[in-house]
């Protein structure tokens, strides 16, 4: 279930892929948030098998791009962060999936 924190080796600039969402960890965060209304920092960490630092960095990049929203609150004395996908993020995700499907179709190896 663990995310590979490396870039998927597609020539992304050449084929115009969304650089924000294309990174493996960020793709995992967005994919997880597409499936449910909201997830806490701890839940995302567990689902994607990430460290605190790694998740923080990538979640912040998604926030800066306007793809996710983070709500901070206190549960008792413990600070909590809860993430939701924005409409922009959902559209970007759908576009990314469409892009991948188009690539699969276009780059299908020719049978000899």
């Amino acid at each position: 279930m663990g995310a590979k924190p490396n870039l998927v080796p597609l020539p992304q600039k050449a084929i115009g892929l969304d650089q924000i969402i294309h990174e493996r960890v960020r793709l995992g965060i967005v994919s997880a948030l597409v499936s449910t209304k909201k997830l806490s920092f701890g839940e995302l960490k567990e689902i994607l098998n990430l460290t605190d630092g790694n998740l923080s960095i990538h979640a912040r990049k998604l926030e800066d791009a306007g793809y996710v929203e983070c709500r901070k609150f206190f549960e008792g004395r413990r600070p909590q962060s809860e993430y939701t996908l924005t409409l922009t993020g959902r559209k970007a995700f759908e576009q990314y999936v469409n892009h991948m499907e188009a690539l699969i179709h276009a780059m299908k190896p020719k049978e000899k």
Partner: protein
């Protein structure tokens, strides 16, 4: 491998990763918290009725009816939560949960019939708690942590019930199927939704 085949393969790999992450997330959060609370309340009612049962056969009939009612309630709650989350009950996480959860329950049903035929009613409560706990653990292996903790708690209660005199069975059943469902159900509902 040429660039064309390489790109094709990596795009496929990305889509597989997206799909598996979505499935893992669904499996992680699919447990219906408030549904578990309802199951717990029905179990408390069964424990109260079972405590007043005149014969062991009547006691078994009450708990058999409770088992069926609990399965129905749990299923309705699962459908309700799945509909709210836009998830199909035929998805692979749901299948994985069913495949993990059902075998211990079916084993429990067969062992209960055998125990009743041999008049070994005193072990039945412990057996149910142990096997239900095993089902919760195997079915909920990829679920939220409280689910696994609840499975372990059921198994611990079951082990305790097996080595405790029969007159305490109702307390174990009420504590397990009633108390644990209500407690963990409320916890799950507050953290992961109803």
């Amino acid at each position: 491998m040429g660039l064309r085949a390489d790109m094709h393969e990596h795009a496929l790999d990305n889509l597989k990763y997206i799909r598996s992450t979505m499935e893992n997330t669904t499996e992680f959060t699919a447990v219906p918290g408030y549904g578990m609370v309802l199951v717990g309340l029905s179990a408390l009612l069964a424990a109260w009725l079972g405590n007043g049962a005149k014969t062991r056969e009547a006691w078994l009939a009450i708990w058999t009816a409770e088992g069926m009612a609990a399965i129905l309630l749990g299923f309705i709650a699962l459908i309700w939560k799945a509909n709210h989350s836009g998830v199909s009950l035929l998805s692979s996480p749901a299948r994985r949960f069913g495949l993990g959860f059902a075998p211990p329950l079916l084993a429990g049903a067969a062992l209960t019939a055998a125990a009743a035929r041999a008049n070994h009613y005193s072990e039945v409560a412990g057996l149910w708690l142990l096997l239900y706990g095993a089902g919760v653990i195997t079915g909920g292996m990829s679920s939220v942590r409280p689910v696994l903790m609840m499975g372990v708690a059921f198994m611990a209660l079951g082990a305790g019930a097996l080595f405790t005199p029969e007159q305490y069975n109702e307390i174990y059943l009420a504590a397990g199927f009633g108390g644990l469902h209500i407690g963990f159900g409320l916890w799950i509902a507050s953290r992961h939704g109803g």
